[in-house]
Structure formats: structure tokens, C-alpha cells
Amino acid sequence: MRAGRGEALAAALFLAPALVAVVVLRLWPTLQAVLLALDAGRGLSLDNFRFLFGDPEFLGALRTTLIFGLIVNPVQIALALGLAVLLNQNLPAVGLWRTLVLLPVAVPQSVSAVIWGVAMRPDGPLNAALAAAGLHPLPFLTSPATALASIIVIVSWVGVGYWMTFLIAGLKDIPPSLYEAAAIDGAGAWQRFWHVTLPQLRRPLTFVLVADTVANVLVFAPVQILTKGGPQGSTNLVMNEIFTRAFEADDPAGAAAATTVLVLVVVVIVAVQFRLMLGRDEPA
């Protein structure tokens, strides 16, 4: 009993810094945002939420974020998985390829945004390459038809390599005996991938799916630096909308309400993802 109490105390001591950080840096600001959103200083009210859900800018930002998420998450995870499987093979100089794919992670988001911004200028090197190949130039960040796709390319340039490393680690954990057994049973490459690799990768894939979804909901720097939400609101992701509202439009209560909505949306999405990926019988 005494040893148990001692262990609990030690555990509490070790956990304390993390718990304090969670409370001070996460829970307290979230609570403040909720109180501000509810106009707690002047009695509770839902006026800020009523305003937001009648505001075309905010609704547009939610819609854009939804479209962005529906495209960027499957694309990034599929590419990360494909690259992980490929770079898990015994290829020549595989370490070099892995490093090259991971390298963009080391570049700060703001720097990579500026580099991509120059590359995607109408008179930039990407259009020069298209012209050299006899293709029409693309407007990239200057047209509402292509701007969101361009942002997806930019964030994926960083994201794919990052998520790939988690999946490679997962692949390394799969016992080779499972593949040998499957091969003895006559399973082909596709069947081995479908019936051995994917089920065995369920946990790392769940992590990547959840973390990637959250990271992509919070995409901000490339939008702020390259498009500021334009052209015509086509890249106005919800984080940019919150930033603009809080720090440019002097509407902290509206920004707090938008943040509250964003947190609720993320919590619901993550809960659904955990449920779908881990099933009912497994603890999340």
C-alpha cells in the first residue's frame, strides 16, 4: 500500500510538468476563448455564434476548410503510405531517398511558402518549365480555380515526408514471419499488402490520420504569406479567418467564437476517426 502511494507520488511528480503545461497552455486559453465567445463579462450570450453563422466570410471559410481537408488528407496519407512501402524495400541508396523526401520538413513553413510563392509566380520558374515543355502556363496562386490546389501542393511537399517516417517505423515493426506465412499460403504482393501490411499498420495509420487531419485544419502560414485567403476567398481556411478576425478586424469575441467552433469540429472529427480506425473493442 505504502509502495503504491510512493509510486503514485513519483508518477504525479513526473507527470506534473506536462500536466501544468497542458492546463496553462491548452485548457486555460481554451476556457478563456469559450468565455470570451459567450460574452461572459456581460452575462452569457450566444450572439457571437449567431453572428458567425450568419456571416458569409466565416461560412465560406468553413466550406473551404472542409473541401481542403477532404482532398489534402487522403492525398497526403496515400502518398506517404506509398512512399513508405517503396522506401521500405531494399533499394540502392534508400537512406538517401528517405532523407530527400524528409528534407522539406527541416525548412520552416514560412521559408518554404516564400520559395513556392516565387516558383509559382506567373513569370516564375514553374511556368517557365511548363512553357519549355510546350504546355500552357498555369495561374497557380492568382486564380480561384487553382489557388487551393497550389496550397495543397505546398503543404503536401512538407507533410508527405513527415508522415512517411511514422509509417516506415510501423512497417519495420511488422514481423517478417507474417509475410513468409502469407507467401507460403500463395498470397501475391497486392494480397500481402492488403491482408498483412494494412491491418498491421492500423495503429500508426490511425495516428497519422488523426495528427494529419488536425495539422491540416490548422494550416496557416502558407495561406497568410501567399494568398491571405484569396483570390476571392478561395484559400480562406478557417485558421486564416480566425487570425484576420482577431488581429486585423479587431473582433476578438468573434475570433474566440470561431476558435470554439473549430475546436468542436476537430474533436468530433478526431473522435469519429478513432472510432472508425480502432473499432469498438479496442481502447482509444
Partner: protein, 420 residues
């Protein structure tokens, strides 16, 4: 024994090290958006006159300054003592509590700067910031590109100001003769430089009412002027996708025949080898009113500064002191708001600029006295600027002018309703 020695050595180091930090040492944190060397001379002079005071520079991009002020001073953070404040932001920032009431120094202001300069930093009958510079815009042209097209350079004499119609025709001709681009603004998509187009075309400044909180931007004249702006890009006079910061280098690289821009760009142009440029009065629409942008940056003191007296002293030195005000123009040649420094600045510019700047002093004096249009002074200015700049950017990228202005008007009404 070893530990004891180590402890003793540490104590000795602390004791010996202490005198190097004087009790009077103070660091003032100065937030701004200009290139850091803008302040070399004025900071050096201030630090020399005030031993123990160090001014730390914090430069942020133009587009980030609002957010920095809002997030840091708005959170009552004392890490900014002095900051650059674009003059039209004074009403909004004073309402939000980001500025110190300077009305007690009114007599000093009246001695050093004009009434217009005081008005530009006033709101609600009080003075809130120190006027640093004033501004105007000119039409730069590339002499070589014009000569290649057989074009006569436009005049620096404001009485012979070119019309936009003439400039566009000449720009097309220059492009036909090899110029990559014909004409552009350096501050593309920014209301500051585009406002004179609307005033020149009789469209108004875009806000109305006693508090300037009623949008007036979706009327036929505004739509017509905005469509004209959009055509500059759809018809290939000017490039899309290039931010304001990259436009002066485009002119310096010899890719642009004409560019409306601030005189501060001359520093870059004079330094660029093989660039032969001239300057003329800003164009106007035929039959319209000649109009030019004005107002500029002021220097504000944070109400949350822990060294408010020193911060006030530094801000005063940069603006109200004749010598300090002139030093503040040394590396970024904007006309100072200080009256004595203004005359000295014009003399210095004409002396340094040779034939290129002959007539520049007369042009600046004329524009400030006759054609300058102020941006709307309103607590809604920050919202207005942000929403309008986005609208201009959309039109530049091909959006329909009428629909864009209508959407911007709705966004403005929504934003202003939140202010009330």
C-alpha cells in the same frame, strides 16, 4: 575542495561582472516595418545623447505590423515601447487603447509641424502619435525603354501632368518596342496608392457619413474605376502575382516602363547600375481632378511601456526635434513632417539627385499643397483597408469588379456593425 573553489570563482565572476551592467541601462524596444538601416543615424544620435539607453530594433513586414500591435499591445505586453503607426490607423488604435494621449504637448507639436500633420495624428480632439513623415507619389519612368520606343518622357512639372489615357498609350508603345511590362503601381492592391484614382475619377474615397462608417463603394463610378484597375492586368500592362515588395525591383531590373511609386524607392534606383530613370507628376484621368496620396507613418508610444518617459523622449527626438527628424530621412528619403527638416530634406535631395531630381522639390511642395488626398479618418479604417486591399487583389486577379465591390461593401457593413 574543488567544488568550493568553483563556487568561489563563480561568486568572484558575479561580483566582477556586476559593474559592467550599469543601473541606468535601459533598452527601448522599437517596432517598425521599414528597413532597419532607416534608423541608423537617428538611433545613434539618440543613444549618444542618452548614455545607457539602447534602442533595440524589431522589424516586421508591412502586412504583419497590424497583427503585431494588436496581439502584443492589445495583450498589454510591455515588450514594445515605441512603434510605427500608419497615420490613418490613429482613430482605431486610440479607440482600442493602444496609444498614449499626447495632447499636453500640443504647443510643441504646433511649433514643429503643420496643422495638417497634427490633424493626421489626432482623433476625438486629442493628439495620439508623433507625425514622422508625410508622403506623395510620383511617376517613375525608365529612360532607356522610353527612348527605344521613341517616347518623350513625361514632365516633372505638375502643371503639365500626364493623363492616364496618355500614359497607357505610351506604355503600350513601350511594350511594343520591347518593355516586358508597360505601367504598374509599386503598392499594387493597396488603397493608399489607389485612392487617388477614385478621387480623380470623381468616385469619392469610399466611406461616407459623420463617422465615415458608411461604405460607398458599389456605385457606378467606383465600379468604373475598379474595372480600369483590373484592365491594367487583364490587358497585360502590368503583371499579376507579384507582391508590392517585388514591384520596385522589377522596375530596377528594367522590366517596367512606368511605375507610380513613393520617392523612397529612389535609394534603390540610384544604387542600381545601368538604370536610367526619371520622374514625373502622378497621372490623372482626363477631365478629372489631379489627386495624389499623402500622409505617412507616425511614431507612437505604447501605454504599457515600462520606460514611457524615455520612449516619449525618443519619439519626440525622431519627429519634433529638427535634427532628429532630418536624420530619420537619411536612409529612406521620405519628406519629414517637421517643418524645418522638410526644407532641409528638399534641399538635400535636389543637391544629391543632380539632373534626375531637378524640379523634385517644387513637385513635392505642389502636390502636398494642392492635390494630396487623405485616407478616411475613421475608427473603421483598419477594417476598411484590409477588406479593400483584398478586393483590389481579387480584381487584379480577374474577379468581376461590380460583384467584388458589392461583396466588399457587405463585408464592411458586417465588420463595422461589430465595431458599434
Amino acid at each position: 575542495m574543488t567544488l568550493r573553489k568553483l563556487f568561489g570563482a563563480l561568486c568572484l565572476m558575479l561580483v566582477l561582472g556586476a559593474p559592467s551592467v550599469r543601473a541606468a541601462d535601459v533598452t527601448l524596444h522599437f517596432l517598425f516595418t521599414q528597413p532597419p538601416d532607416t534608423w541608423d543615424a537617428v538611433i545613434a544620435a539618440f543613444e549618444k545623447a542618452n548614455p545607457g539607453v539602447h534602442v533595440e530594433r524589431q522589424q516586421v513586414p508591412f502586412d504583419a505590423l497590424n497583427a503585431q500591435v494588436q496581439s502584443r499591445i492589445g495583450a498589454q505586453d510591455s515588450s514594445i515601447d515605441v512603434f510605427g503607426c500608419d497615420e490613418p490607423r490613429v482613430p482605431a488604435f486610440s479607440r482600442r487603447g493602444y496609444l498614449v494621449d499626447l495632447s499636453q504637448y500640443r504647443a510643441d507639436f504646433e511649433k514643429s509641424v503643420s496643422k495638417e500633420a497634427i490633424d493626421a495624428v489626432s482623433a476625438g480632439g486629442k493628439i495620439w502619435s508623433f507625425p514622422l513623415w508625410t508622403s506623395t507619389q510620383v511617376l517613375f519612368y525608365n529612360k532607356d525603354l522610353l527612348a527605344k520606343a521613341g517616347l518623350t518622357p513625361p514632365s516633372i512639372d505638375p502643371k503639365q501632368r500626364p493623363t492616364w489615357e496618355a500614359v497607357l498609350a505610351a506604355a503600350k508603345q513601350a511594350q511594343a518596342a520591347g518593355a516586358k511590362w508597360g505601367v504598374s503601381f509599386d503598392q499594387v492592391d493597396r488603397y493608399y496608392e489607389l485612392e487617388p484614382l477614385y478621387v480623380s475619377n470623381g468616385a469619392g474615397v469610399g466611406l461616407e457619413g459623420p463617422d465615415m462608417l458608411t461604405p460607398a463603394i458599389d456605385n457606378p463610378k467606383w465600379i468604373e474605376t475598379t474595372a480600369w484597375y483590373g484592365h491594367l492586368f487583364s490587358d497585360g500592362y502590368a503583371p499579376r502575382g507579384i507582391p508590392p515588395e517585388q514591384m520596385p525591383p522589377l522596375f530596377a531590373a528594367g522590366q517596367l516602363a512606368y511605375m507610380v511609386a513613393g520617392p523612397w524607392n529612389m535609394g534603390l534606383f540610384f544604387k542600381t547600375p545601368d538604370l536610367h530613370f526619371g520622374l514625373a507628376a502622378m497621372p490623372y484621368f482626363a477631365g478629372g481632378t489631379p489627386s495624389t496620396p499623402t500622409d505617412s507613418w507616425s511614431i507612437a508610444v505604447s501605454p504599457y511601456s515600462e520606460h514611457k518617459d524615455l520612449a516619449l523622449k525618443f519619439a519626440r527626438f525622431m519627429t519634433l526635434d529638427d535634427q532628429g527628424a532630418l536624420m530619420s530621412t537619411q536612409n529612406l528619403p521620405l519628406p519629414p513632417a517637421n517643418k524645418a527638416a522638410f526644407d532641409a530634406y528638399l534641399q538635400r535631395m535636389e543637391g544629391q539627385g543632380g539632373a534626375v531630381l531637378a524640379g523634385y522639390a517644387d513637385l513635392v511642395r505642389y502636390e502636398l499643397a494642392n492635390t494630396a488626398v487623405h485616407r478616411p479618418r475613421s475608427v473603421g479604417w483598419v477594417n476598411f483597408e484590409q477588406i479593400m486591399n483584398k478586393a483590389f487583389s481579387d480584381v487584379r486577379n480577374g474577379a468581376d469588379p461590380a460583384a467584388t465591390l458589392h461583396a466588399a461593401a457587405e463585408a464592411l457593413k458586417s465588420a463595422f456593425a461589430r465595431l458599434r
